[in-house]
Symmetry: C2
Subunit: 376 residues, 2 copies
């Protein structure tokens, strides 16, 4: 894993970089589509590579651990081979998912005991087990096991949780260093900054994480319900501390505007279920604004979904047709909408990258933001 920053934006902390992995190059800033259980919902891998052109996708350790289970993934030769995806993959640690299982999990210093949402069976994730599981899944970038605190979160809980996340990180690093990749290519472990919305905790955590000297650093516990101002404020606090020469991954973010603002703060990597989940509910992101495709106003609108989209399906089909597909609940609605949104998100980060290279990112951001965020 090698990271080079090739350009810096003169007007912000934005940067363009190249992250090299054994499964190919990731051009940053990048958005990573979420492929929860081995599939980016309703999109073929081939479309992900060609139309959407995703440099890297995400897998969820919690889901893959439960199904198909890691014994199958090991027999397949790892997640890449299992799903037939030869570009980089990142897996989360499962932490976020198990904490979401409210009333079905118990957190102790040792780890998290939880009930499967599928069959109610009991399972246990520890920093060590999660490292082993992510070795078995075989993503290129794997995440440390952390506690993702909710919003709002009281100060004492946030501080105690942050310290536990730090102790868990030490255990993750130890286990990671004691084990080898199973499939012959390199895996990189990324630690996660926590600290809720408290500046001092975020600073403390960022310094702790920076001190571990890992090749990628992540910021967790944001985009969990806090106002955008808090998201930006905490991101800035942290990016000011995390080493500049290493990629910074802001987990679970976000809306197109969040992504541009956080690129400006020096973030290099993003992931979020919004473009794919919202697509399935008829919310489309386009170069001209946001469309609620179920709205009656599109009923007789025979203009393209997005005439400027990178996706042929968005250029060749009309709003009236896509609205009809949503109204009659055709699967194709979700397919067209998902391809549209992911194409938009990848276009967004790719264009941000170009503008950073040209030194015009800040100006471009101020022009493009009101356009892409307006409701059509």
């Amino acid at each position: 894993m090698k990271f080079d920053i090739t350009h810096k934006d003169p007007g912000s902390s934005a940067r363009a970089g190249i992250l090299q992995t054994d499964h190919g190059v990731i051009q940053t800033p990048i958005f990573m589509p979420v492929g929860t259980q081995g599939s980016v919902k309703s999109v073929h891998q081939e479309e992900l590579k060609t139309t959407i052109n995703a440099d890297i996708i995400l897998g969820n350790t919690y889901h893959l651990y439960l199904r198909p289970k890691t014994d199958i993934l090991q027999k397949a030769g790892g997640l890449h081979k299992f799903i037939n995806w030869d570009r980089p993959i990142l897996t989360d640690s499962g932490g976020y998912q198990v904490y979401s299982l409210k009333g079905m999990r118990k957190i102790t210093e040792k780890g998290v005991k939880f009930r499967s949402h599928i069959d109610g069976s009991m399972h246990f994730f520890s920093p060590e087990s999660v490292m082993d599981t992510q070795r078995e899944i075989g993503a290129d970038i794997i995440m440390a096991f952390d506690e993702c605190t909710p919003y709002p979160c009281d100060y004492k809980y946030a501080r105690r949780s942050m310290h536990m996340t730090h102790r868990w990180l030490e255990r993750c690093i130890k286990r990671f260093n004691e084990t080898d990749p199973i499939y012959g290519y390199e895996q990189t472990l990324a630690p996660i900054v926590q600290g809720s919305t408290y500046t001092d905790l975020r600073e403390m955590s960022a310094e702790y994480i920076a001190g571990t000297n890992m090749p990628i650093n992540a910021i967790g516990g944001l985009s969990v319900g806090e106002p955008a101002e808090e998201l930006y404020a905490m991101t800035e606090v942290v990016t000011n501390i995390l080493p500049e020469d290493k990629p910074r991954y802001l987990m679970g973010v976000g809306l197109p505007e969040n992504i541009l603002e956080c690129i400006a703060l020096g973030i290099d990597m993003f992931d979020c279920v919004l473009p794919t989940r919202n697509a399935r509910h008829g919310m489309l992101y386009t170069k001209n604004g946001v469309i609620n495709m179920k709205n009656a106003k599109w009923k007789e609108d025979f203009s393209p979904i997005d005439v400027d989209s990178e996706a042929a399906t968005s250029r060749d089909h009309t709003k009236a047709y896509l609205r009809h597909l949503f109204k009659v609940k055709e699967y194709l609605a979700m397919q067209i909408a998902t391809i549209n949104n992911l194409s938009f998100y990848l276009w967004l980060v790719r264009t941000a990258r170009e503008k950073i290279q040209e030194g015009t990112f800040t100006q471009w951001k101020s022009v493009i933001l009101p356009v892409i965020t307006q409701r059509l």
Copy 2:
């Protein structure tokens, strides 16, 4: 509309032909994927054209009449433009759907009064209204309004119904001749032979339909639950009477074996929801046999879904992966399976056509049938 038979199989009544429409050529025998409400479920139009390479697809008048309604289709410039499909389309008459609305419809000589399955609103289809509706939809081939009798059906009902279908046909032809295509290209009306499973009724109906001298003739009321022997027997009775120089369309058929057997009896056109519906339930048709993809036996089978498939998604993904996608209910499961099945069906009729051209259809059929029908 022009039909030329280019080859006849020496060992059967199978023939290869070319049907010319204003939206392009249909090479027969052909299978027509069903695009019920403006979409072949879970398949992009582009995939239909490239990977699956469907010469023609179907639309359902009943569904399109209810949603998006024909005013929208007219404003869009017809169904082709609405769904962005520039190849031929055939629409059924809505008859089959309204008769399926048991307890929600009333059949009289005038037509059929029925309740929408969507909002319970009352509607009325008559031979005349169905012609008008199909003009508004704008398919290249449109179907006469008929009564599709169930199986089993008592003789008296079948005879009475058949006669009414014939009287309705006269009204369809009259209305069709009094009206013009709305969108500038030719539309062809196809009458439908009925008569349930009664040889004398089928003969009488086939003679009646042949006597109308329409450019395409269809056979309805089969594949509604009768044994395969009845299907073949009735098809043979009818194909022996319908004019040889016109395309014969066997509606709603069927399984791969039904299609090959009925090609041998002189059928040129088929449609059926089986490949698409069964795909969504995990039943896959391949060149090596039929696969129940949800079966536990595929759990660790890392061989391609169908190494010989025309579809890259079937060659590039494994059975274990597709089974996983079905188990976790990922949309991609249905997408991969549908593309697989339609690719198989189109491969089947296209290969049948090649073998007819080579004069080896009958031998090929006897070799291929046990292979493709075996359960894997």
